[in-house]
Amino acid sequence: MATDFIGKPKNRVDGRVKVTGKAQYTAEFHVPGLTHGVVISSAVAKGKISKIDTSKALALDGVLQVFTHENTPKQAWLDLSYKDMDAPPGSPFRPLQDNKIRFSMQPVALVVAETPELARYAAMLVEISYTEESFETKLIDNLDRNFAGKGWRAGYEPPKSRGDFKEAYEQAAVKLDVEYFHGAEHHNPMEMHASVVIYEEDGGLTIYDKTQGVKNSQHYVAMVFGISRSKIRVLSPFVGGAFGSALRPQYQLFLATLAALELKRPVKVELSRQQMFSFGHRPITIQRLMLGASADGTLTAIRHSAYSETSRFENYMENVVNWSGKMYKCENVEEVYKLVKLDMYTPLDMRAPGGATGVYALECAMDELAYALKMDPLQLRLKNYTDEDMSKGKPFSSKELLACYRQGAERFGWEKRNPEPRSMKEGHNYVGWGMATGIWDAMQVPARCQAVLSVDGKLKVSSATADIGTGTYTIMTQIAAETLGLPLENVEAKLGDSSMPFAFIEGGSTTAASVGTAVKYVCDKIAENLLKEAAKMENSPFCGADMEDVVFEDGTIRLKREPAVSVAITEIMRNRGLHSIKKKSTVVPNMLKQKSYARNTHSAVFAEVKVDEDLGTIKVTRVVSAVAGGRILNAKTAHSQILGGVVWGISMALEEDSFMDHNFGRFINHDLEKYHMAVNADINDIEVIFVKEEDKVVSPMGVKGLGEIGLVGVASAIGNAVYHATGRRVRNLPITPDKVM
């Protein structure tokens, strides 16, 4: 069958536009008369603007306006109006609404000029005086102000304890009590955040925005500026990476909209790379793991506590400790998750939020426990394996983790491992092998899709979702083409346009399962319609045929029991005088079915490191990541997603650290030279395995989503490998050379 695409390693359908430079990202949309906005960032972390002098900037020819808190019209006053789909509980930050400084690098003015160079120059001429106030930015110094975050947040589950941890821990034959720490990280997608807002003659707005959800941006602008949603169209056809940074509408959208409305001119606001460190980060957590086990390695007690930072104005919450209640069989679990308010911007979901950090600590602690038990780390995991999420008291809808362990270990050669630290050496390098388990949620959320089939056999499917490099365009195309039996070239997937049917923000590994299903359903509807029309054709062999009796392939409908009998889709449409068939689908998860199960993706990660005995240089020479991620829609793009996740894990383990200078309350290494992320030379062999996993619960197509799982567990496997190599347990990320020297 030539139209069988799902699961195949198909090339990205947007590949050609991307390799020719024709894919247009937000800042690249040009309209005549476009003006350029440059944001001025606060130099202080807390206080008030005492004076702001814009006269020198305004005196330049071509400078149109400098927006400050003094001349910005007041916008909506209800907090609710500023709440976006990813907003945590609290009062969202409102740019330029008063003279208060709440965090360092807060936007304090927008300079708009005819050219970008002029706007940047004028921004240097704006003189601002601040009245500084004392501030707190250091989590560890403020733990006494901790509190339990309340309120609802999408995807957040409050910590949940069970059994009697204290008693079990006291009784445990082997105990472990360790603290783990990691620095802050910033998303740093390669494309900087930008918005282009075009003021239309009818007072409407056409907005190009870097976003993971055009509907989210549209909603925000409508609510904040009091404009009817029908007059706002948000477009975001290509997103140059985001990793969570574009889940919330960032301040450049507010500022560009404000300026466009006030000046009645098109305005582009593109943040600088330095400003990419000004609006949300993966928060620092201080975690403590207490594990108790019997002498045979049976886990009897787990306590996982975490302190995490948040802003003064919102309570950012993520699932850090919850994984410890799900991953292993253990009767007595205590989970504690506390927030501390600091004078910084609200943290922001960053690839595998909570999981990347919480599982990091748990899986390193498990390694420590294995050593305390004199047990192989993999055996310890197997010993405590569970098919049930005990925190929910529900079975997993599917969990092929054992296959991940088995296949990953085999490929890696784990059985050859000598458990003794510092037992393997090559030249100056100690060689270490470590492993860890990974887990993430498999979620499906509501989504809509529209499909239009034309008489020429071309199909357009559209949904207001995003493709941030994840391959959404491609899987939408594959699903649609296979469902209707069309060649890939005949299908055009459209997304990133708020005028399209609803989709949630693209995050949490939900899109493939959610939008993918909506695409499938809408194409099924078209298929049914086609069959109905085919049946109406003269002397139709499809008369009385049900959907079960036919297949859609190679551009035709074919009878299953009589494969020689087929009719071309184009023929049906021509014959029936149909110019096009248009259908819409709305898919909501089958809650009834899903609520009886815990739904997760799993992985087993094995890593080899080489650590220089004198210089502490760490090289991750080999990683094997075996993933149980449900049905794989595209073997090629899925592989890339896991590769990317592993690279993130290496980068997180060894390099990334947004360093807050507490003298200034400011992330001080705020550019890509000083904030290190992995470069090509850091990456060596990475092998990805997808184990077979069928699941009819997570989503109708059995898709689980792969955006986060590739990252979770990687930093632990590396940390554990570093211990195996050197005998040194580093409980503080990133593991830089000085920590192992």
């Binding site: 390799v19 430079g21 894919a23 800042a27 020819d61 160079e117 390669m190 790379r273 490099g469």
Partner: protein, 161 residues
């Protein structure tokens, strides 16, 4: 008050000679993106720290964000828009697609120009050389292993040629 002076220059961009009047503070990158609307060359940091703006200047790969347009009178510039031969993709472009050597695509034009620059330089002999000499192009999606496959393949092709 006028802010900046202008100079007339001639640039040959993707094979076409253009007479341009540029403000002296305009970077080569901003000239391409903002004035000529050749947006294939990307801005990822504007400070030479990411490589997204890589293009070929007289055959050599450079960061176009860290040079002034006015300083290149008479130069020949090849951007990603000039890499393919009409509708026919350059083998390196095709290889980026086949090996899925990108995800979001934002660093891709720079990676492609950098790959072609690397081949022109002829200095990469080993796998480690390739990794080091491609390290000036950051890919946040983490497609490095696939990018390396493309470069290896391109090097083999250039050796055969």
């Amino acid at each position: 008050m006028s802010s900046i002076s202008k100079e007339k220059i001639t640039l040959k961009i993707n094979g076409t000679e253009q007479q341009l009047e540029v403000e002296v503070w305009t970077s080569l990158l901003d000239l391409l993106r903002e004035q000529l609307h050749l947006t294939g060359t990307k801005k990822g940091c504007d400070h030479g720290q990411c490589g997204a703006c890589t293009l070929l200047l007289d055959g050599k790969r450079i960061n176009s964000c860290l040079t002034l347009a006015v300083m290149h009178d008479g130069s020949e510039i090849t951007t990603i828009e000039g890499i393919a031969n009409g509708d026919e993709l350059h083998p390196v472009q095709q290889a980026f697609i086949e090996h899925d050597a990108f995800q979001c695509g934002y660093c891709t034009p720079g990676q492609i120009c950098s790959t072609i620059g690397l081949i022109n330089e002829g200095k990469a002999k080993t796998l480690d050389d390739i990794r080091d000499l491609m390290s000036g192009n950051v890919c946040r999606c983490g497609a490095y292993s696939n990018i390396v496959k493309v470069v290896q393949e391109a090097l083999e092709r250039s050796e055969q040629a």
